[in-house]
Symmetry: C2
Subunit: 457 residues, 2 copies
Amino acid sequence: MTLDPVLARIDADLPQATERLMQLLRIPSISTDPAYAADCERAADWLVEALNDIGFDASKRPTPGHPMVVAHGQGEGPHLMFYGHYDVQPVDPLALWHRDPFEPAIEETPRGKVIRGRGASDDKGQLMTLVEACRAWKAVHGALPARISVFFEGEEESGSPSLIPFMKENADELKSDIALICDTGLFGDSTPAIVTMLRGLLGEELTITGPSKDLHSGMYGGAAINPIRVLTRIIAALHDDQGRITIPGFYDGVPELPEEIAAQWQALGFDAKAFLGEVGLSEPAGERDRTALEMIWSRPTCEVNGIWGGYTGDGFKTVLPSQAHAKISFRLVGRQDPFAIRENFRAMVRGMLPPDCEVEFHGHGASQASQMSIADPAFEKARAALSDEWPNPAAYVGCGGSIPIAGHFKKILGTDAMLIGFGKDDDQIHSPNEKYDLESFHKGIRSWARILAALSE
Amino acid sequence: MTLDPVLARIDADLPQATERLMQLLRIPSISTDPAYAADCERAADWLVEALNDIGFDASKRPTPGHPMVVAHGQGEGPHLMFYGHYDVQPVDPLALWHRDPFEPAIEETPRGKVIRGRGASDDKGQLMTLVEACRAWKAVHGALPARISVFFEGEEESGSPSLIPFMKENADELKSDIALICDTGLFGDSTPAIVTMLRGLLGEELTITGPSKDLHSGMYGGAAINPIRVLTRIIAALHDDQGRITIPGFYDGVPELPEEIAAQWQALGFDAKAFLGEVGLSEPAGERDRTALEMIWSRPTCEVNGIWGGYTGDGFKTVLPSQAHAKISFRLVGRQDPFAIRENFRAMVRGMLPPDCEVEFHGHGASQASQMSIADPAFEKARAALSDEWPNPAAYVGCGGSIPIAGHFKKILGTDAMLIGFGKDDDQIHSPNEKYDLESFHKGIRSWARILAALSE
């Protein structure tokens, strides 16, 4: 089966492929908010239909949370398993969007055409690059070039509570020769990338309670403990003056970067000033003695993702609140143990509590970092295929985001994963005005068509 | 004019007086939220009608914010000016109320009957004690025992932006021999109190901006500055390990407590354990070397009244936010200068900002502390009248809350103010389930009837 007519078909079919993506983007499948549960179901139904349409045997599989979509195609050659997620992040602050997040459109920008809308890049646009590549192969040759299966989840943006049980229960069905995960980005505009290093993620929510009820700060202020003050003191103590995280044992299992990888990264010519300049910053704010690329790819972090307590509306209220809350996450690397860090974090917080205060913790998912084995020849085949499609040769890179699925494929199914995606740094994923470049979508579909051909050889 | 028939009339009329208070409590006059502006107007109209009903010449006076109510009664003797406020605090968190905050009712409790509803104690119930005392005098004697005027504002819970301009513009009309302010509490259940020491209040809101937009904590975490982390570091630095506030010059003008007042306070037998125990606490949390009574009456404070930033909804969002916010207030004593403290606070915050961060400040009112001159014989007359009504003799006390109006009467009008009120520590003002004891209301009305008699002698 030849590749060229498939690529030609992809070029000709781009307007229709884009319209199909728009249909999926219009479904507000926000997984973290229970109000959108029915929309998550709708997104799964839509994908089942799209996959059945192009010859897969697709089905929606119930879980205690949002459903999975699993599909199997007929085909010869190696068994490839594609992973993506159809759920999206919340859209707040809504006021900062310049269009309805769920009324996507093609917009002209100084840097080219973009598909604007929540999920355009993370991850609906990305997962559709694969679906459309399969559609083109099927249309041209009446068959897929390999035995392809698809596994889409709907809880990736909310900690994937059903993922591990589902993978365990359906391990035989989900096993394959290699997993292909489309949820990452290009390196720069013209350099495709295969991620070989992924940070893990640990989420913790804590509530500190002082007085048994909200108090008047005039009547009690001075004598009553203020839980916001306690919380800020604890959060402030999580980093030292050098930007290092102070939780006991936190750096256990954090490896130094191998010289060979450090050299490869050096060669990428990463422009930290430009990377930070895009978002109004100028100086890397992490550990003092690390490069910006290390900070985002190979060093662990501790971030406050949310904080709240007391009166937060218009005007002023002289309340001394009963409770203060924070959501804190840790990006993990190497062999850092999320469960040990969770325990050490909680112990540190408990140790800092003054008299009369209590703390409650709520864990939000815990995944270790992943390291891919690039000895598998599939990596070099895919790298060559990507290099054929894009202006620059493809690179092996790290990824600061946490994509726990790669670790699960390895641990539960014994399958290695390859992470390839076409997002760009300015896609504003998780932020207002998310977009996916039309070029990412187009060349992304073409990239998968090439990779399918390469892996089936 | 004799007092006894007036007291008898008050006793007989209590059910009707309570029902009139309920009418006022049903009006949700939340001044800090623009959505309730029309309700503030309605509350002012209701008071104008109530005052005109008992022979005052009352009118609603427009301001750039919520209106004032000013009323003048005919009468002989000294000119007394009554102050109260008809606006109330917001009601959130609404879920913690066991009834609609604006559907007040008499409830039976283990400690007696209470009037439950927002504003029952702060300050609608209190201001109505005066109105009802006047009503009884008028009903029994056809006249008031003194020349009484009334001045009610509708912005006390939102920083009183219109108060000073209004007092300056209407200084001649508002001048009197003494101002009587009903917005304070009893000392314990059986001991009436006249406040002679009031803390001032400085409100500051700050917004710290780091990145120009919300970021994905995986993509940028580690390299991008997190404004929540910056804010928590600043707030944590506002107090030292001894509970002292670290803003340069903050304690300038803070006097040591005179020995004679310290001795008087000692004699009150204040039970700090019980005071804190009521709200689930056990240890005074202020400056290490101070008594709990000093902490709430005569020492300055710095409290965080609200904090927010990032994702605060259900679930988890790995966002690295662009902004973080806090509302901070300072209770001031002695000759502390709110404007100097504001400048020093802002300079300290600016000095702690790391590169790439900006701060915006929004001031929310600034008032100095007040010290009453108890040499005026009116104080001893009022103290004797209160002692006649209640089980224990009345005490001169401090007040931790900020009632800037006392300072304004002195500064703008040259009038001394006397602060007498009947609230209790467990009234839950500014909190869910606010109440006013029916006894506070009943004996409060009787107390004012007695004080009017005493001051007119």
